[in-house]
Symmetry: C2
Subunit: 237 residues, 2 copies
Amino acid sequence: MEGAQAVREALGADVPVHELFVTPDATERHPDLVDAARTAGVRVVPVTDRAAASLSDTVTPQGLVAVCDLLDVPVETALAARPALVAVLVGVSDPGNAGTVIRVADAAGAGAVLLAGDTVDPHNGKAVRASTGSVFHLPLARDRAAGAVLDACRSAGLTLLAADGRGELDLHGPRAADVLRSPTAWIFGGEAHGLPPELAAAADHRVRVPIHGRAESLNLATAAAVCLYASAQHRSR
Amino acid sequence: MEGAQAVREALGADVPVHELFVTPDATERHPDLVDAARTAGVRVVPVTDRAAASLSDTVTPQGLVAVCDLLDVPVETALAARPALVAVLVGVSDPGNAGTVIRVADAAGAGAVLLAGDTVDPHNGKAVRASTGSVFHLPLARDRAAGAVLDACRSAGLTLLAADGRGELDLHGPRAADVLRSPTAWIFGGEAHGLPPELAAAADHRVRVPIHGRAESLNLATAAAVCLYASAQHRSR
């Protein structure tokens, strides 16, 4: 984990942090973080700017890199608490998009994010940064077998809604309102090709965000935001 | 305008296209586009791959670059048709974010997007690409004087709603429902610092997207998607 925000979240989360590499500059800028790491029993290792840069995948390294355990858990563990709202990403390859959806799922009150099929690793630095800490806030699970992930959601009592621009159910239509009151797993496909047809067909409903203007579609993150918040809105009523 | 999608939108839109530079490869891949340009009286100029690359700001140029007039109009012109939904961006510096908000505003049925203050130029190549054609779909206006833009919105009969994470009105709360039925200009601030306090204060209401989980906030594009679609939902009732 890289940078002050991610390191702070890691230290405050349940995930074991093993080592913190920190430059003299960063030690001066973030004495609280270095103290917190020491108090938590984390080994704090002073490093040069050059060493910190070689650990970093950003253009302007912040001089703080923590080594911690992987965050993801098995799908069944992520669903064990019977969350009423879950986001499933299938074949999402852009790490910024994946991180942004994890952030908006967190904001909308989702209880887990499941990364299925050829979806990018949520530990990717760009995904972690785009999530602005949310990778630490809710259970993440990864499984290449997307069909098995959907089965696990169904077994956990979730209604499966596939976000699909050509779906039969209008998100804001009267028929969707009833559906949105159930515990829901939203399934989002990748940027380039959307959801594979067999997975869209396996969902209980295919739901479209209505397009009122002349745009052809929404991008993944904005569509996910509108869908997940539609669920949040119905749940809070 | 660069790439097949943007060139196709430009040829189909109201904006005058003057020249189309095209490589032999692109001519073979998109004969329909080259024909449409010729039919529309556009001067078609064959160029080498190297020349096309020097005209491009992408890593993998598509070999199609059109020269057309600027798209933006004065603020008063953009509001002349009395749109019932408008997005105002203030100090948005990232072109990808600006383009994404233009796309979601289009999808939600907005009648104009106004770019105020230090907001990025919507003609920026990244903004055009992120908008996936939406820069051609609705009037765009630019004005550095953000206060004057808000005044123009008010004069056009729009209620001014500032998107503000600490706003007094919950977007999904009962009090917001009445507000969202009015013709609305949504005002969105930049990624780094949000909306300047004096502009937030000048709005009729400051509206927050409720955060149900532990995320601190939403990013600009997802917040704009949720806000603009909340308006679309109330308008379509």
